[in-house]
Amino acid sequence: MPQPTTDIAIQTDRLTRSFGSLVAVKELNMTVRSGEIFGLLGPNGAGKTTTIKMLTTMLPPSSGVATVAGHSILGDSIGVRKRIGYVSQMISADGALTGFENLLLFARIYGVPRNERKQRIDEALAFMGLTEARDKLVRTYSGGMIRRLEIALSMLHRPEVLFLDEPTIGLDPAARLQVWKRLKELLETFGTTILLTTHDMEEAEELCDRIAIMKEGVIAAEGSAEELKRRAGTGSMNQVFIHFAGEFSDSKPNFRDINRARRTAKRLG
């Protein structure tokens, strides 16, 4: 596994992205340390997904800079992409292939050396508890198994930073616990830094070392779950969210995002 090149996994400096007159992310300054799970929370349209798209080099920023795993998202986008894994909110595993075939495809895309591929794939399957389902078509998998396979897909090349966009959306509580357990093991075994977005406050509290709550393109509050609860003067993370993001977070409805989230939930359930 490549050793983290720096103690800071992600750093942004006045990172900004606008779409026409709408500023989705405003001069964002954010630091994620190596080896931590960092949660990005906030209402729909707060700029979480736009931030992830910029950090994974899918979307160029309008201004500002960021480094991921020590590489600039502007000057060395391929360097960044070699060192990150990404699990989208949507189901991206191919249902018509087996778990093994899905992994083989991504091992090739990520340039895992030919003589290591089989071993890495079997390790990834064992790690995510999917060894028995190795040769079954993914369309026969349960929602939790698909999510674990997707995390396995994004971990094959042993990335330094893993981006997870709502990793447990649409999963039942048992499947959700399984995913959490595997993510924690991933961190312990490989020291992978994880940046995740979620609307699930229990998930944020259970998994994240630090949490940032975004509102209208800026970070409204940042700290550990305990710190945020103390600052908001409440014992509940749901109240923390409302305290910092506001009670009426529907000011910016986003039909496309909500449609996508519901579709994913339906397919997984």
């Binding site: 080099t57 979307l59 391929i78 949507m90």
Partner: protein
């Protein structure tokens, strides 16, 4: 049909390469919708976050469209045989036809991907796909020779890649067929346009998820 000057070929033999090119074009031109589906499924985002160069993603799509077109070619060959067209079975000519088919399908599917990157939604793409096929088909040498076209149409036909593909197929597919532009020029034009389209589409590719 005798009014159309088709050289030393009967009209069916003249038409067969045009029909082959047309069947490849009509399927390849809708190929771009794949990328919109992949975007909606989340596969595209995953590929774009991988270190695979954008040009490799575009080229991969072009090759897969090329492979699919070979199956279509087999069916058109069968139909031409039934229609009594005198097909050229020499291995060299068949190899050339194969390359022409793959090149043409790769080119038009990449053009289609480029349009998909610009329009980004299935509904708009389907409409535009329909609008593009007819001008591409009729402003080419697929069903009548360029020599009988008015000047303005001649110019359009000369920048239409379908003309070069049909010209190539006409020289290689049927016995007695000849090329108007020259086989070398045909290959060069098709390859050059394909490379240019891959370069442009690779630049546009990430914009589809933005």
């Amino acid at each position: 049909m005798r009014a159309i000057p088709t050289g030393n070929l009967d009209y069916f033999s003249f038409l067969a390469p045009g029909i082959l090119a047309q069947s490849v074009l009509f399927i390849a031109i809708f190929y771009g919708i794949n990328v919109i589906w992949e975007k909606d499924l989340g596969i595209l985002q995953k590929l774009l976050a991988s270190p695979a160069p954008r040009s490799a993603l575009v080229f991969g799509k072009a090759v897969s469209a090329g492979m699919r077109a070979i199956a279509q070619a087999a069916i058109v060959y069968l139909m031409a045989l039934v229609a009594g067209v005198d097909l050229n079975w020499s291995p060299l000519a068949l190899g050339g036809v194969l390359v022409a088919i793959v090149l043409g399908a790769a080119l038009f599917s990449t053009f289609s991907l480029m349009i998909a990157c610009l329009v980004r939604s299935r509904e708009r793409f389907m409409g535009i796909g329909q609008v593009m096929t007819m001008p591409l088909f009729f402003a080419s040498n697929a069903i009548y020779p360029i020599s009988i076209m008015p000047t303005w149409l001649k110019i359009v036909a000369h920048i239409n890649p379908l003309s070069y593909q049909v010209d190539l197929l006409r020289a290689l597919m049927v016995v007695g067929g000849t090329s108007t532009f020259g086989i070398g020029i045909d290959f060069l034009m098709l390859t050059g346009m394909l490379v240019a389209l891959i370069v442009v589409t690779s630049k546009l590719y990430p914009t589809i998820v933005q």
